[in-house]
Symmetry: C2
Subunit: 340 residues, 2 copies
DNA sequence: CTGTTAGCGCCTTCAA
DNA sequence: TTGAAGGCGCTAACAG
């Protein structure tokens, strides 16, 4: 009667003295709908508990063609410094919906992407999340459209799949707001210029910054072009400073640029925040490590991941849905206090 | 004959004019073993290709009790800045072995851990990898022993499960080697002291450092205790410097400490590497962002993840196997060039 | 060398 | 309100 090994549904049923049908209904919470006696319900549940019954998901999948699993394909999200937090968010949200997340990285290889999608499809994943480390416009990989999917941190040109993105424009406005709040009305510069043509963040942040400043009658005094990493930023800012400009505030398009700017400003003898306000984007841990700590408009990675899962699992999500998530301000000490 | 919908094995078989048995053997590369005619083999493979047949993994799992899937449970690896690279390594290695990785984070909650393990077991994962962000000694969570498992970046007290770890002692020796190579024979200090009692890295690094220095007749001049993060390190180092010491070289037990030390040294007017050599551990991207770039003994995260998967999948792995991976030196510009 | 047959554990239509 | 029965797609004895 009890082999002490992996109870099956029929074990439970016979122990409860009902048929597997009844047991199945009960365990799938359809007893009400099926008008099953409270007594049978009770007995089955007890039997299941006593045998510590766990349904065999493979058998379930075979039958139902659903696996309780979500495939998360990314270019290199796990490799990235911060983007991996999207995995955290996705995985937690998935669990809340009784799902597990299986991951795969393409490293930008479309063939690999297609293979991963195929492998996951073979395993009956209930849906896909396709994520990119950098907010960008992408080409939907082969096979993704065959299964319900949502894009995470990216969009496709045709806007044909639901997507979750950070609200970069609003983020830009937030950054501008901070600068304005500190009382700067002149010599506000932007540092950075995204070299990746598919990247969306730079231009959108820029757009938000300019718009908000304009509302206050402030114009961007200039833009210092530089790649999005520390050394190029350092060099660009330093030579720019040496050319004789004297900024009041610099808005760096990401935190690494800000680090480069910090170093350049220090080399040039300009104090942050005393002489120059620095505001940035991303809200990476780097921001809190610097001294003075950096005020940064942060990317809500965890929330992005979670939102993607929820959109995916919500049957009401229209295929052209685009959700933009707020970029919260991570306040630091790099903003000049209002003079008084 | 062809409904253009998801070909099954029997579709393939009938199209090739053989039984499903034969088709199954062939597609599982057992035709040799079963001495199946080259002709049948050929026909079946062609049919499969023509129908773009893909086996239904749920059905396979139901039969074979194996899913081609590995469960990777961690405390907060994906959330971490660098540890997430273990996922990259694991996932890539898994793919090479025709497996996929499903992830779950426990956030240190043993109940959650047990639940995740249960969920994954239900889905027939072929094995578990239990990973921690920080190298440490752990208590094996409930349910992990029932399935083949390996520990990643951690060990259990009883050494009862195979484990993969960075070779911290050797790493410590490497750091010392660098310092010695720069000609320092005196005033070599170590900065850091791990507050986490379960963490292994600190003491082991320390051990390697002391041992290697001792071999060269050099003694550690002192240890500056501090937590493993930027601000505490900054404060500790600064007040230490102000107490009048004048280090030749400082070995920081991780990169964040090194960042704090950089800032403190700068504040104190000591130039790196001109006046002080700084060497560190972790090899995070931070190391390359600093100026001068930081020489750091790096944690081989990607390799750790990959090695864990390979140990897991290798039936020859004994249950008390412990693999220690080399920590490669990430050379930077923070080491004083030999005076001449 | 290849086909027949019997499940793996579960869901679900159909009858009772 | 419950039970019998079939089948999801695949593998693996066991015959031929």
């Amino acid at each position: 009667m009890s082999a002490h090994r992996k109870a099956t549904l029929s074990d439970v049923a016979s122990r409860a003295g009902v048929s597997t049908t009844t047991a199945s209904y009960i365990l799938n919470n359809r007893s009400a709908q099926m008008r099953i006696s409270a007594d049978a319900d009770e007995r089955v549940r007890r039997a299941a508990a006593e045998l510590s019954y766990r349904p065999n998901r493979s058998a379930q999948s075979l039958r139902t063609r659903r696996s309780g699993t979500i495939g998360l394909i990314s270019d290199s999200v796990a490799s990235g410094q911060y983007g991996s937090r999207m995995l955290t968010g996705a995985s937690a949200a998935a669990r809340a919906l009784d799902h597990l997340v299986v991951i795969g990285e393409t490293e930008g290889d479309p063939v690999l992407a297609a293979q991963l999608i195929e492998e996951m499809t073979d395993r009956q994943v209930d849906g896909f999340i396709y994520a990119t480390l950098v907010t960008s416009e992408v080409i939907i990989p082969e096979g993704l459209r065959e299964t319900r999917s949502v894009l995470l941190n990216c969009v496709d040109r045709e806007r044909t799949l639901p997507a979750v993105l950070p609200d970069e424009v609003a983020g830009g406005r937030t950054a501008a707001e901070v600068v304005l709040g500190a009382g700067h009305t002149t010599d506000v510069y932007v540092i950075g210029h995204d070299p990746n043509p598919h990247a969306l963040a730079g231009p959108l942040r820029m757009e938000g910054v300019t718009a908000r400043l304009a509302e206050a009658g402030v114009e961007v005094a200039g833009v210092v072009p530089t790649g999005w990493s520390v050394l190029p930023a350092y060099e660009a800012v330093l030579s720019w400073l040496r050319s004789g400009v004297r900024p009041e505030a610099v808005i760096c398009l990401n935190d690494r640029i800000a680090l480069g700017a910090y170093e350049a400003l220090a080399d040039h003898g300009l104090a942050v925040p005393g002489e120059v306000t620095v505001v940035s984007f991303d809200g990476s841990t780097l921001a809190s490590w610097l001294r003075p700590s950096l005020t940064s408009v942060s990317l809500p990675y965890v929330e992005l991941g979670a939102a993607a899962v929820r959109m995916l699992m919500d049957p009401a999500t229209p295929s052209d849905a685009i959700e933009r998530l707020k970029m919260p301000l991570l306040a630091g000490d790099s903003v000049r206090p209002i003079a008084r």
